[in-house]
């Protein structure tokens, strides 16, 4: 009984602490959401958090996009690009990571170092040669420059991430699988993929978010407004010389958080399934 009360108090304190910390961290986000319901001409002059006059106008106007193309199109394009990138990264980065983490071959350390180095060069200086290259392929104003590279495991971040996770798996697992007659590819699909699920889920979430947010490349390669994406659409609400529409921008910013939010919320439960539930004896 006594232990029960102590547990209860413990739980209340933990919850309270989490909530309090969360509230501090979320203040800016709450302000953003509140601002999206304010009249455009009061967003910056009205200091209060709560809108004096509550309006849905920003959402209505924002959804119409830039007049000639609606925001729905931007969402569709962003979904296509992000979705394809997720699929590509999960398959090809894990394939590459498996090779680096588990297979023995000549030149492994060299190639691994090369892979690490590819992450260290600021991308702004490779912009122009890459653009010239993709233009020669005839890929300008298509989604291809944004998507195809992922099919060649160019996202070294995820390779490195998965390498670290695969290396921390007990090695006896593949050895026993090898004895059971699995080939290398079998070990990859049967053992490694399922066991690195948390890391793969991480790959899914990050790839989706980062592609969703990747404004610079989308700006460079997409020309026709009908191919524009969400971050490009958001930037079009802000104009350095003319009329900015902060209200619709905030409203669409809130909407653009939703897919990421839902994706995260629905996938985070996979973090709960730790390695223990897969039935390995420690």
């Amino acid at each position: 009984m006594k232990k029960h009360t102590r547990n209860l108090i413990n739980s209340i304190i933990t919850n309270a602490f989490i909530i309090l910390l969360g509230v501090c961290m979320l203040y800016p986000v709450v302000w953003l959401i509140a601002a999206s319901f304010k009249e455009s001409n009061t967003i910056f002059s009205d200091p209060g958090l709560w809108p004096k006059a509550f309006t849905l106008q920003n959402y209505v106007k924002g959804w119409q996009g830039i007049g000639i193309v609606g925001f729905g199109t931007f969402f569709k394009n962003s979904f296509i690009i992000s979705g394809l990138c997720v699929i590509a990264n999960v398959i090809f980065c894990s394939l590459t990571a498996y090779a680096f983490a588990r297979l023995k071959f000549a030149g492994r350390n060299f190639w691994f170092a090369v892979m690490m180095v590819t992450m260290m060069l600021p991308t702004h200086v490779t912009t122009i040669p890459r653009y010239i290259m993709f233009r020669k392929f005839g890929w300008i104003d298509t989604f291809l420059p944004l998507v195809i590279p992922k099919f060649f495991a160019t996202d070294a971040f995820f390779i490195f991430l998965l390498v670290q996770f695969i290396r921390s798996l007990p090695k006896e697992l593949d050895e026993s699988a090898l004895i059971d007659g699995c080939g290398k590819f079998g070990i990859y699909t049967q053992i490694v993929m399922p066991l690195t699920k948390p890391a793969l889920i991480t790959t899914v979430i990050f790839t989706f978010l980062w592609t969703w947010d990747d404004f610079f490349n989308q700006l460079l390669y997409l020309n026709s407004p009908s191919k524009y994406t969400v971050p490009m659409g958001l930037r079009l609400f802000l104009d350095s010389s003319g009329i900015s529409s902060w209200g619709p921008m905030f409203a669409m910013s809130v909407l653009s958080l939703l897919p990421c939010f839902i994706l995260f919320f629905s996938l985070q439960k996979y973090f709960v399934q730790g390695i223990a539930t897969t039935g390995i004896k420690g």
């Binding site: 001409n41 007049g67 700006l219 460079l220 020309n223 802000l238 104009d239």
Partner: protein, 418 residues
């Protein structure tokens, strides 16, 4: 794996199909937000209806930074758009030889006769017409009329001398509540060097003369300018450096006037509507001090339409530009969004809302207090950015006004040589 290959093939094939079109398509790159996009698209629709066989594909970026990154990359990659919207940096693009001289189309597909000579002149560099002005704009001071009235202070006169202006700021300071300043520190702004440019004209020492490649500004002149604002700062007429730096003044949302923390700020006249849309207070325009006596103000093209030298369809592009600037139908849908039109035929169609009327009233007063625009210092963007840095060093008290004056001078000289 097989499925992925198939998906790849489908993607590639659909890409090929997109490229197999028949019609002429000209690409028009500009920056702007939703209202400009809408207006521009209406103009495109009108043009396409009148010119079957020509399609116009707009390539829109949200701001100048994005626009020029994209255009630069496209030009470097050999796939620049046909029509490029340009700003004060047009010279830099002429110098790098990427723009097409347009005078050969003048009188045939480009009707330059009805465009104001001053607008033609501003787009003419080294004797060639490279840019067609999208419309006229002027630098101005903007003040928050409602705020000043609430504080019980008198409203400013549109034209003042520097002495009157300083006295007015002192009066304002005595009336305004704590934390609200008479004027934002507009001495130099991150986004452009216009207030400094104005003062050098007022001082009789214009920043740059392209014909002789020289500047009339001496270190002592720049120092005098820094001291002018130092005086304002020390007397609380403009905010201290760290408060001022909190407002980038690139846009209505980063404007101290819109935030209600300063009564007076700086804008270009074509920005008035955008600023007004961001506040419920009423905004009005006044001149920079001393303009009446010195004619130091100027009218500037807000932007230019230019044509890529490597355009495959230069004639279609020029035809479209002619339509945009001269046709009354286009003028009606475009409005004053890219500045007040410089074309007589387009102006004849004009209609004005309250903000446009305020701008026109201002132009009526300030127009006679203007003279020809000074040439832009080469490497415009670098000039703005570095001038701002030097100005801030002085404002934060890191260097003296004398050292600041010297650094500004060195900067101008270096950029002219670059």
């Amino acid at each position: 794996m097989k499925k992925t290959g198939l998906a790849l093939l489908i993607i590639l094939m659909s890409a090929v199909m997109v490229f197999g079109q028949q019609q002429i398509t000209i690409r028009w790159a500009y920056w702007g937000s939703e209202s400009r996009v809408k207006r521009s698209q209406e103009a495109i629709n009108l043009f396409e209806a009148a010119n079957p066989g020509i399609k116009v594909n707009p390539e829109i970026s949200g701001g100048t930074g994005d626009h020029f990154n994209k255009v630069d990359t496209q030009l470097a990659g050999g796939s620049g758009p046909d029509i490029i919207q340009m700003g004060g940096n047009i010279n830099d693009y002429v110098k790098r030889g990427v723009l097409l001289p347009l005078e050969k189309y003048s009188g045939t597909i480009l009707n330059t006769a009805v465009i104001d000579p001053s607008a033609i002149e501003s787009g003419t560099i080294d004797g060639h017409l490279y840019g067609v002005s999208t419309g006229v704009t002027m630098p101005a001071l903007v003040y928050n009329k409602s705020l000043i009235q609430r504080a019980g202070a008198p409203l400013p006169k549109v034209s003042m001398t520097y002495e009157e202006f300083r006295n007015y700021l002192v009066t304002l300071k005595s009336k305004l509540p704590a934390g609200v300043y008479p004027m934002q520190d507009i001495g130099a702004l991150s986004s452009n060097s216009t207030p400094f440019g104005y003062w050098t004209r007022y001082n009789g020492t214009p920043l740059y003369d392209a014909a002789t490649k020289t500047t009339a500004v001496k270190p002592a002149d720049a120092q005098k300018y820094l001291e002018l604002f130092k005086d304002y700062r020390n007397n609380g007429l403009v905010p201290p450096a760290d408060i001022a730096a909190g407002y980038a003044e690139t846009n209505a949302d980063t404007s101290m006037v819109i935030a209600g923390k300063a009564a007076i700020g700086f804008i270009w006249t074509n920005q008035l509507a955008g600023y007004q849309a961001a506040t419920t207070d009423e905004l009005c325009l006044m001149e920079f001090p001393g303009a009446a006596a010195t004619k130091a103000l100027w009218q500037a093209p807000s932007q230019f339409y230019t044509v890529n030298k490597n355009s495959k369809y230069p004639e279609a592009a020029v035809k479209f530009i002619n339509f945009l600037v001269n046709s009354p139908e286009a003028a009606k849908v475009l409005g004053n969004d890219r500045g007040a039109s410089a074309s007589a035929t387009a102006r004849a169609a004009g209609a004005a809302d309250i903000n446009d009327r305020k701008v026109l009233e201002y132009l009526d007063v300030a127009g006679p207090h203007s003279s020809k625009e000074t040439d832009h210092v080469p490497n415009d963007t670098e000039f703005n950015s570095t001038l701002f840095l030097i100005y801030q060093k002085v404002a934060f008290g890191q260097i003296s006004t004398a050292a600041g004056g010297q650094q500004i001078y060195d900067l101008i000289v270096r950029l002219i040589k670059k």
